[in-house]
Amino acid sequence: MRNQSFTPRQLGVALAAFIFAANRFSSYYTETLRQDAWLSVLLGLLFFAPIFLLYVALAREFPGKGLFQINEIVFGKGIGKGITVLYLFFFILINSMNQRYVADFTVNTILPEMALAPLVFSMAIVFAWVLRCGLRATMRIGWFVLLFAAGALVLSYALLAKQMQPANFMPAFRHAPVRYLQSAHTNAIISLGDMLCFLPLLRYMQPGKKVLRPVIIGILSGAALTLLCVCQNILVLGVLEPYRLYPAYDVARLIRISDAFSRMEFLFTIPALLLFTLRVLFLFFAIVEGMGQLFGIEDRRPLLLPTVGLCAALTFLVVSGSGELKAFTMGVAPFFSGFFVLLLPLLTLTVFLVRRNRVQEVIGNNAECREEVSA
């Protein structure tokens, strides 16, 4: 992926779209806390703050390096490659799960007559085509996708104003404290923690610019849009909301301007599909980056097509059905993903702090070698 640099602002926008996409085809926000689901978004953000600081610390210590390069510097080549394999497994798994979410949603709602396989392979062709356009191009369309999705959400708020009932938020704060903790943990790890896939791509970010501010604004914007969406679902659907497979889609189906415009669910489906495509694409970039690092291939382009094919094939083998996917996301994923999202980066930072002098020597030697080669 040569000449693929992007700006911190583009990264912020991509993060906002990535986070907003997380809850589009799932109802895990409302499963645990029901009418208090809005609180789970805020608590999730609070829980995620230390994890985010951990990522910031890693990125600060290794400017211009991606997660996979950092692993090899800190742990050495052998163990570093082993940890890269673990991350690759995780990214491929969540990529396949995300693709399955989109495919299941499409087959269950938009194209009920369609078989899953042709749909997944059609999606794979689209992904491969966009991936060939490169990371920079994908980052650039982030603005368009985010604004389109946010505009559609605001419009749906306006069109559904009459059907919203603030009483649906009541009774508030009635759940056991452990439920709030569970909800915050799930949201922090699943919807926000998946942004770990941006860490390998940081090596393509333009150097010498302030990064933290646009990134924080991006994360907060994504969380704010998610909060708006969750509140809309509760306001419109009320007690029925937790029992819906796709609450946001069901809300959009209730929009009715007149008899002529009674099918307005495209206000949900088109932005949601675009957001999810963007989410899957960033995961693909992280996977290709990891493959390239693992096998020592500098030009990542030949890896794109087989990676897309592999993930498309795994979409069927990773998940057997929507029910299993939902049960995994709600019950097991917060702990399983926690290992990759929190523990592995924490281990990397701890080992770096312990071996700081040795690691800095390695970085210095590498820089000298590079200068000699360029001279």
Binding site: Q182, T307, A312, L325, F328, M330, G331, V332
Partner: protein
């Protein structure tokens, strides 16, 4: 048999040009990696299209995590 031919043909049409181009450029290492990934992808597709009954990855992980007690009960 038709399914096997279709899947293998689909993979070959998609991947072979890349591999040939890489070998022509002298980038044999990349060609091997690409071929290996393509092989995995083809094997995955074959498993699905031939309806081979294997447990899904998520069910295996779920069972393992539940055994060690790391899950939220529904």
């Amino acid at each position: 048999m038709t399914r096997i031919i279709l899947v293998c043909g689909f993979s070959a049409v998609l991947i072979l040009p890349s591999i040939v181009r890489l070998i022509k450029r002298g980038n044999k290492k990349s060609a091997v990696v690409v071929a290996m990934l393509a092989l995995f992808a083809t094997a995955g597709m074959l498993l699905y299209f031939l309806h081979v009954r294997i447990p899904s990855v998520l069910s295996v992980i779920s069972a393992w995590m539940r055994r060690i007690g790391l899950y939220y009960p529904n």
